[in-house]
Amino acid sequence: MKNTKNKIPGKISGLLRSRESSLLLVMILLVAVIQWRSGGMFLTGTVITQLTQNYAYTIVLSFGMLLVLLIGGIDIAIGATLALSGMSTSLLMASGVITNPFLAFLFSILVGMACGWIIGVTISKGKVIPIIATLGLQYIFRGLTYMVSGSNWVSSDKMLAGYKSFAQGSFLGINNLFWIVIIMFVAMLVFLKWTSFGRQIYEVGSNPEAAKISGIHIDRVKIAVYTINGAIAGLAGAMYTSMYATAQGNMANGAEMDVIAACVIGGVSLNGGQGSATGVFLGAATIAIISKSLSLVGIDAFWQQALKGGIIAVAVLINVIVQRNAARRALERREI
């Protein structure tokens, strides 16, 4: 799917850029096939708005996961963080404490940020490996979500009208939630490419020892990244509850699997240092298209899980094969 040129790659085809152009190609091809198979029902106004609305929160979560994967970590507690922040915000709305939608979004982000901070400290200062730390904290956050809500739902009639209408409303023809995705995407692009802290994330991920020697505080970067990821999960919690207008204990259960799939397809490497906001955006969009279009195209929804797992496996294997070829070619170039 990707061509690494034999001659030293100059400006035209950096390894990263060619990965995203091929991903865009795959996505366009996919939409064409779906459009043909579903007899033209896919590319209609309503389906596109539903697509952008329903999957806005997974794309936003994927940006958070991108940061975590870039420093070589992982966070499987984002589903639980989303649930806790979304639920606590809805409860405060139901009990009349929060009366303005903007405040609701802010509170949800703050709750998510606190969860992210706890994860960051456990991993960096507590020296716990990320998979185990987020596994344990996922249990705790999910348990708290049920406990806080006394394990019953916040039904839509108890939610602020403005909060619910925000998710349905649109501006310049684009749904509000998708505006959040666009703003987040631009912010992530600028942050990762143009700010020094963004570059430090790449440095820590690409070569942690060199980064430590050159004076970067690895722990501080880790805590910051997991906190930002938590905040994003909090934001996604508000987006979720405002769109579905109910808050359930088991909401976003297993969302982390879709998000990891999106990042892996988007070319993010799991050992850190490699990945871009564009790649993740395209990866998440691909996952959304596949999930949305399955029933339209006649593949029954029961194939969806198996397909998603298959896509992650294929994307990971392609990454490895490409890296092996590049290493082999580098060896051959070395004249002895």
Partner: protein, 334 residues
């Protein structure tokens, strides 16, 4: 040093948990197990069950699994048996899986009734409304809303929910059995698993796949709410919603010109209430053979009819219609 930490850890665990230990008074305990812990319809049933237990003079105890899984319900039944509860009322997540565990409980003299959703091995099914009656009102509302002709679909709960499957099967036999409904085309049955996200996605898929769909019938309170919200958000889709819904949730979606012209349900509080009395009736040996009837302690008489898969069942009452007019005064009841 390490031994100190170890003993400290053990001590803390013991103290903290003793502090919030449960009541062990000698009073008999009736337990209720719902499909999952956070379903609003179920919490109304529990409310009715607790009121009845208070009248009967027993302690009420609610224990429900987080997800609609039969596995967790089995574990809960085992715990309750171990605690020596006198009776269990359960809304089963599976028609067969609980059989052996319930038998282990009934062998120990514990009365086991099912409510809302039946399963094998239950001594009595407290049926909120007869399967045929529920199916009939659902088919009639679809017939009325489509004007007798057109496409309709069904958005149900989870694929293994016994009560929804029973109503859907009954609806099918009614439609096939009467030429009046011949012109109705049942396009598809989809499953929202009683999750608002999945129900919304399924509803949206139905709208896109069947452009001239006229009615979506949702025999589950979660489905009907999600469907009504989707229709309200796309007013020009021209789809009407029929089904079973809680008045409190549906009050701004039910009525003329709204997404759901009218809907049906029964009072879940009555169902919970009645199941407690049924446990008392079984324990007092009042319940006779199929065909006989008996009066429970709430001075209501019930006639026992043959149930499937439970041996006996009683009907709490006919489904109740909610329209734009009367929904408001029920909205704060349940």
């Amino acid at each position: 040093m390490k031994k100190l930490i170890a003993t400290l850890l053990a001590l803390v665990m013991v103290l903290s948990l003793v502090a919030c230990g449960g009541g062990k008074s000698g009073e008999p305990v009736y337990a209720i197990i719902c499909k999952d812990a956070s379903n609003p319809y179920m919490s109304r049933m529990v409310q009715g069950f607790k009121d009845a237990c208070a009248d009967i003079g027993v302690t009420a105890l609610e224990k429900s699994p987080e997800t609609t899984s039969a596995e967790d319900q089995i574990a809960i039944i085992n715990d309750l048996v171990a605690q020596g509860v006198k009776g269990i009322a359960i809304a089963a997540n599976d028609a067969a899986a609980l059989k052996a565990t319930i038998k282990a409980a009934t062998d120990r003299g514990i009365a086991v009734v099912t409510l809302d959703s039946d399963t094998e091995g239950s001594q009595m099914f407290v049926n909120q409304a007869g399967v045929k009656e529920v199916a009939q009102v659902l088919v009639d509302s679809v017939y009325d809303m489509t004007g007798g002709e057109g496409e309709f679909a069904v958005l149900s709960a989870s694929s293994t929910a016994t009560n929804q499957n029973a109503w859907i099967a009954a609806m099918d036999t009614i439609i096939k059995g009467d030429s009046k409904y011949a012109k109705l085309t049942w396009v598809e049955t989809v499953y929202g698993d009683d999750e608002s996200q999945k129900s919304t996605d399924e509803m949206q898929n139905l709208m896109t796949k069947y452009p001239n769909l006229e009615v979506v019938c949702c025999p589950t309170t979660v489905g009907v709410l999600a469907a009504a919200q989707v229709v309200t958000n796309n007013p020009d889709c021209g789809i009407k919603i029929a089904g079973l819904g809680l008045p409190s949730e549906m009050k701004d979606y039910v009525g003329e010109g709204k997404a759901c012209p009218y809907m049906y349900l029964w009072n879940p509080i009555d169902v919970g209430n009645c199941s407690a009395y049924m446990i008392k009736a079984i324990l007092d040996g009042k319940v006779g053979e199929v065909g006989t009837s008996f009066t429970a302690d709430n001075e209501k008489t019930y006639d026992i009819s043959a149930g499937d898969p439970a041996e006996k069942q009683i009907i709490v009452g006919p489904p109740f219609q909610f329209t734009g007019e009367n929904i408001d005064d029920w909205a704060n009841v349940y």
